[in-house]
């Protein structure tokens, strides 16, 4: 089974005021991942009580979560249980991407009713 991977990420953001003033930022990078055992991707229902997206990795992870719901928001945590460690709060259609070099799990909970998210969570090794 393959254990070595190449991960590519590119992000572009822009904010535009009604005055016509615009600021933009973008970035991209590649991670070469070696000896990876934990790789999860797909769609998942997030309940109103905390739902684990990724169990604790050995070293760290890259995480992407997109809220596919039409109505409700979700909160994504750097923890297996809800707490202060909020990575992001996603309104319908919004997404987040982050890199965390720690051994915390990733969890999420929906506000008023279960929502479906699109996600990936990939373990990274100490050299990535």
């Amino acid at each position: 089974m393959a254990k070595n991977y190449t991960f590519n990420a590119n992000i572009s953001c822009s904010a535009t005021s009604g005055t016509g003033y615009t600021q933009s930022q973008s970035g991209g990078f590649t991670l070469n991942l070696t000896g990876i055992d934990q790789l999860e991707t797909g769609r998942k229902d997030i309940g109103t009580s905390n739902t684990v997206i990724m169990t604790a990795p050995t070293y760290g992870k890259v995480v992407y979560v997109r809220n596919l719901d039409d109505t409700n928001f979700i909160t994504v945590y750097s923890n297996a249980t809800a707490g202060d460690d909020v990575i992001g709060v996603l309104e319908p259609g919004e997404w987040l991407f982050t890199i965390l070099r720690d051994t915390q799990a990733i969890g999420a909970n929906a506000d008023t009713a279960a929502v479906t998210v699109e996600y990936f969570a990939v373990e990274i090794d100490a050299n990535a």
């Binding site: 393959a2 254990k3 070595n4 991977y5 190449t6 991960f7 590519n8 990420a9 590119n10 992000i11 572009s12 953001c13 822009s14 904010a15 535009t16 005021s17 009604g18 005055t19 600021q23 933009s24 930022q25 970035g27 991209g28 990078f29 790789l39 991707t41 760290g60 992407y64 997109r66 928001f73 909160t75 750097s78 707490g83 202060d84 460690d85 909020v86 990575i87 992001g88 709060v89 996603l90 309104e91 259609g93 919004e94 997404w95 987040l96 991407f97 982050t98 890199i99 965390l100 070099r101 720690d102 915390q104 506000d111 699109e118 990936f120 990939v122």
Partner: protein
């Protein structure tokens, strides 16, 4: 002058390929907000992340949600990003929301006041000060 609005767009492209050249996944998410008339400010710039941590003060953004893009543009050491510890000093203390090696970036609609009182971002470099670049914009309340 009439109240102005702000519109925010975030687009990404993420792929994972295994050692045999097999594409494991490919995602290209994107969203554009409706014009947000409650967004008071947007911030873009460059900041020196100190080893003891330094704050990117955000006086006029929505503490509950801020569109946050940060990139480590330096060459040597990782930078941690977290909601400011000093604003609340809550327990448990806020933890890092991203750990960025040189060249890496992240995007998230961040909550700054997870402990109930924060309104700024803290960036901390390992070993020696490092530069980050950022784009921050107030988002609608959840």
């Amino acid at each position: 002058m009439a109240t102005m609005h702000t519109t925010f767009t975030a687009s990404g492209s993420f792929t994972l390929t295994d050692e045999n050249g097999v594409n494991i996944f490919s995602y290209s998410p994107s969203f554009t907000t409706l014009p947000n008339t409650s967004a008071k400010a947007l911030y873009a710039g460059e900041h020196l992340a100190a080893t003891a941590g330094s704050e990117i003060a955000l006086a006029e953004v929505n503490d509950d949600r801020v569109y946050t893009f940060i990139k480590n543009v330096d060459n040597d050491y990782p930078v941690e990003v977290e909601a400011s510890l000093s604003e609340g000093g809550g327990s448990p203390a806020p933890k890092e929301m991203a750990d960025l090696n040189p060249g890496e970036c992240f995007f998230s609609p961040m909550e700054l006041n997870g402990d109930g009182s924060g309104n700024s971002l803290k960036v901390t470099s390992a070993t020696a000060a490092q530069k980050v670049q950022y784009l921050l914009c107030g988002a609608i309340d959840n």
